[in-house]
Structure formats: structure tokens, C-alpha cells
Amino acid sequence: MIFERRFLLGALAIAIVFPLLGWSEYVIHVGVLIMFSIMLATGFNLIVGYVGEFSLGHTAFLGIGAYTAALLSSSLGMPIFFNIAAAAVVAAIAGFFIGAVTLRLRGPFFVIVTLCFAEVLRIVANNWVALTNGPMGIAGIVKPAWMAQQTALQQKIDFYYIGLALVTVCVYFAYRFVYSFLGRAVVTIRENRFVAQSVGIWPYSYSLLAFVVASAMAGVAGAFYAHYVSYVGPEVFGFPFMISMIIMVLLGGKGTLIGPVIGPVIVVLLEEYLRDFKDLRFSIFGLVIVAVVLFVPQGLMGFVAARREQYARK
């Protein structure tokens, strides 16, 4: 806990100083992507790492958040921060209903049914042209007014700091959640459902609460993404986002708070680095997943934690 807090505060300090070092636009863009990914991974980790159920439908909330922000911005002209808050609320409500249905199931059934929900939403986004503009998506989401006079680099730096602020809020929430009685209750459910029930923890309602918090975070990430790229299409519900979320959390280490911060940094940098390999990079990505499952099943932080335990025992 102390280690996690120190590490996260240190990472925050580095992240604040980072853009001041005079980087190019591209580097800052990568930084913004990392911020977006950390939000997603932190939320997703609450479900996978703490509740211990494997959801493949977390893009549902990413997409709902993105579309909420896009619609509020393009048709009502609402400002960015209002949209982000609204997206969090809408995604949380959706998370409540979808979670209420899916959390009745466990294991493979949960996995497949969450995936079904994300697919249904993608099909709806594709077909409900009146609301979502169908496959064309919603383009031209306006940048905040204060950015109008700025250079492209300055705009990216602004988005970087907005992202960093949102990440800080998300990670802080996750931290408070994990180290409260709620987090301990959820971990008890993960470790042994029957023991949890026998000491008065109702698995369904605690899991649902974690699910709702995770959905809200994905909604925030979606709204941030919508404003940053100023375009939202049905592909925000797609499986590729889900896959990168999974790799980030697993590579970093599920069930830790540091894992979903480190994971996105590595994965986004790896993605950018593999760009040189063009089409081959996706094949390599598949092999990376296989390798992670086989060789570091607990992720980097799981590996570190095991080492620290060994060290402490000596």
C-alpha cells in the first residue's frame, strides 16, 4: 500500500514535468494516448483484477461515454468538462443495468454475455442513423474555446494535462475504493465467494458497485477520447479497444493499482514502436499476448510482488 502510493505519486510528478521538456507534437500525442489508456485500464482492472470476473464488454461503456460526449457537444454545444461528467453518469447508469443482468452469471457465461452487450451496442450505433449518424459517425466535435488561438502543440499539451487530471481522479477513486471496506469485500468475493457470503458480504451487490465504478471510468475515457480526436464512430464499441485494454491490464498486472498504469505505458509505446513493422505488428501483438499468458501470467507487478514477498520473508 505504501509502495503503491509512493510509486503512483512519483509517477504523477514525472507526468506533470514531462511535457515541459520541449517534446515534439508526436511525443505529446503519444502521452495523451497513454493517459486515455490508463483511464480505461484502471477501470477495467477493478472488474478483472478485484471482482475477478473477466468482462469482454467494457468497450460498451467506452462507446456510451464517447457517444454521450459527442452528441452533447455537437447538437447542444455543451463544454468539455460538462460532457465528461455527463458521460461518466450515463456510462454508470448503463453499467448498472448491464451489470445487473450480467453479474448473475459467472465464468465463461459472463465473458460471452458481456461481449454480446458490446456487440448489440455496436450494431445499434451502426443502424440508428438518426441518433448516431450510422457508420459515418459523428465528426467535428468542437475543441474547447480557449484552444482556438493556440498552436497544435499547445492544444495537445492542454489535452495532455486534462487527461492527466482525469487519470489522477480515476486512480484516486480506484485507490480509495481498493483500500476501503468495499475493496476488501470485493477481494474476498474474488478469493472465495462462499466465505464472503458466510461473513455477510453479498457478492452480487458489491460486484455490481465495482462494475458501475469501472463503467463510469470507461465513460470518462470515452468522452476524453471523443473530444481529443473530435470524431466518434461505431468502432469505439469494437473488439480492438477491448484487446488493448486486456493486454494493458494483464501485462501490467491485474489486481494491483500500479499495473494498469505501467501496462498502458508499455503497450502504447510498443504499439508505436511496432509501427515500423506495418501489417506484421498485429501478428506480433497476438504472439505477445500468448507469451504474456505463458510466461508472466500475473503481469509485471505480480512478478514484482512475488519478488518482494520472497525478499521480505528472508
Binding site: 473477466f54 461481449l115 451502426n126 499476448i289 499468458v293
Partner: protein, 290 residues
């Protein structure tokens, strides 16, 4: 009325195809407790090999089918022994992730090799229409339905009435007890996965003669197969057939009488409704194992 009959006939034919394409998935889950996310990609590989053999090499359709079954079966055995065996007792999640990794690899490698163009397996069955009273069906579809039925029966007999099938069922029921009576459970797991893989790719090669196959089709096939097996009950053989037929007929009726845009969503809607009523499918795994 004729329209309804035609829709029902189309639905049943498509439903048989869905059942066939979900068979490998439900077999692997029922006999190994692995959710195979690479299922659709194995189907795609079967279709592409079938296309390469019939179109490029000029092989006979049935010979191509046989080669597909043997080649992918062998590949499936190796995938199990080299990869899945290492995560066997680490819970469902590791298996899911591993197969997701394999599926990404297969899709993108296939894209590199054959590109995005859709391909078709050449089959000896004519596309001639057959008139059965008021209903029109093509000869090729009916032939494939017949082959499907034979294939399903063969797999059923293999699992229920052979020594290998008994060993497979014993292994999933209690691997420890199975190995105590002399069953080499690791090999049996390998054979089971090989059978599931061979079924998936045989479905790909068969249906590749009716629909088109392209590297990116795997995701869609996997999703439909998931819908089918969830409707019928994961791991249940009869369930997969019923689930496939239900999905086929529901899609045909919805597409015929309502909007075509949402046809792909029907299956997911059915799954969600099913969950509220009977969370573990029509035929739950407990009542029947494969």
C-alpha cells in the same frame, strides 16, 4: 403463407449451418472446459485452405475437405500440447486470453498472406434451384445440409460409442480418476482439441463453398457460434443444434418481416432474454455432457 414457409426453410438451412459452425466450440468447451476464442479463426483457416486447394491447386472438393480436416486437426493437437497444456489448471481466464492471442495472430497472418479479398471454395454441387412444393432451395445448400447431418452423426457416434470418446468423457468428468485407470489424459486433451479444431475448419471449408471466406470473418463466426452455444447451453451437443436452428429461424423471420439492418443483433437479443429466463441455456451442461 408461402412466404412464411420459404422463410422457415431458409431459416432451418441457415440454422443447420450455424449449428455446424458452433459444433467445434461446444465440443471443446464440453470436453475441455476451454472457451475457444480462436474458433472463428480456425473456421476461417479451414475455408482459406479449402479455397487454396480447390481453386489454386485444382483438387477435388472432398479430397480438399479431407486434407483440411487432417491438417488442422494435427495443428490443433500441437496447439493443445504446446500452448493450452501449460495453462490447463489456471482457470478459464488464461485459456480465453491464450486463444484470443492465437486468434489475433491467425487473423493478421492470414491477412498478410491472402489479403482482404473474399474467396470461395469450389464445390461440385450446382447452384440449381430445387422446387419443393412452394419452397425453393438451391441444390448446393441442401447437399451441404446433408453433409452437415452426416458429420454431426459421426461426431456423436465417436463421442458416445468409441473407446476414444469414452476416454474423452472420462477425462472431463474426473481427470485424476481417468489417469488412474490408464487413460493418458494429456493426449486425450490433445485429441479433443484436435477434433474441435478439425470440426471448426471443416465447417469453414464446407460453408466456404456457399458463403465467402476472408481473413477478417473469424470474429463474426465466433460471435454467432457463441450465441448458438449460449442459447443451447455451453458444452451440450444437442443444445448446439437446437440453438443453431433457433437462431437461423429467428433471423430469417426477423429479416423477412421486419428490418434487415438489425438482423445480426437478433441473436444477441435472444441471448440476453434467455439469460433472464434460463441463465444456463436450454440444455444445461449438467444434464448432458457433449
Amino acid at each position: 403463407m408461402d412466404f412464411l414457409l420459404q422463410l422457415l426453410a431458409n431459416g432451418l438451412v441457415n440454422g443447420t449451418f450455424y449449428a455446424l459452425s458452433a459444433l467445434g466450440l461446444t465440443l471443446i468447451f464440453g470436453l475441455m472446459r476451454v472457451v475457444n476464442f480462436a474458433h472463428g479463426e480456425l473456421y476461417m483457416v479451414g475455408g482459406l485452405i479449402g479455397w487454396a486447394l480447390t481453386e489454386l491447386v485444382g483438387a477435388n472438393f472432398f479430397l480438399a475437405l479431407l486434407i483440411v480436416v487432417i491438417a488442422t486437426g494435427a495443428a490443433g493437437y500441437l496447439i493443445d500440447r504446446w500452448l493450452i497444456e501449460r495453462v490447463r489448471n489456471q482457470g478459464a481466464e488464461s485459456g480465453i486470453l491464450l486463444t484470443i492471442g492465437i486468434s489475433i495472430f491467425l487473423t493478421n497472418t492470414a491477412l498478410l498472406i491472402v489479403g482482404t479479398v473474399p474467396h470461395k471454395v469450389l464445390s461440385p454441387f450446382a447452384n440449381k434451384p430445387l422446387f419443393l412444393g412452394p419452397v425453393v432451395l438451391t441444390q448446393s445448400r441442401l447437399s451441404i445440409v446433408a453433409i452437415c447431418a452426416v458429420l454431426m452423426l459421426a461426431v456423436h457416434l465417436l463421442i458416445k460409442h468409441t473407446t476414444l470418446g469414452r476416454a474423452m468423457r472420462a477425462t472431463v468428468q474426473d481427470a485424476m480418476a481417468a489417469s488412474l485407470v490408464g487413460i493418458r489424459t494429456e493426449r486425450i486433451h490433445g485429441f479433443t482439441f484436435a477434433l474441435g479444431t478439425a470440426l471448426a475448419s471443416a465447417a469453414g471449408a464446407l460453408l466456404g463453398s456457399i458463403y465467402v471466406t476472408q481473413p477478417t470473418i473469424g470474429g463474426l463466426v465466433s460471435l454467432k457460434a457463441f450465441v448458438v452455444v449460449i442459447l443451447g447451453g455451453l458444452g451440450s451437443f444437442a443444445g448446439a443444434i437446437i440453438g443453431g436452428l433457433v437462431l437461423g429461424v429467428a433471423e430469417a423471420l426477423w429479416g423477412g418481416y421486419f428490418a434487415t439492418g438489425y438482423v445480426d443483433a437478433i441473436g444477441f437479443a435472444l441471448v440476453i432474454v434467455m439469460l433472464l429466463v434460463r441463465p444456463y441455456g436450454l440444455f444445461s451442461v449438467k444434464s448432458e455432457r457433449a
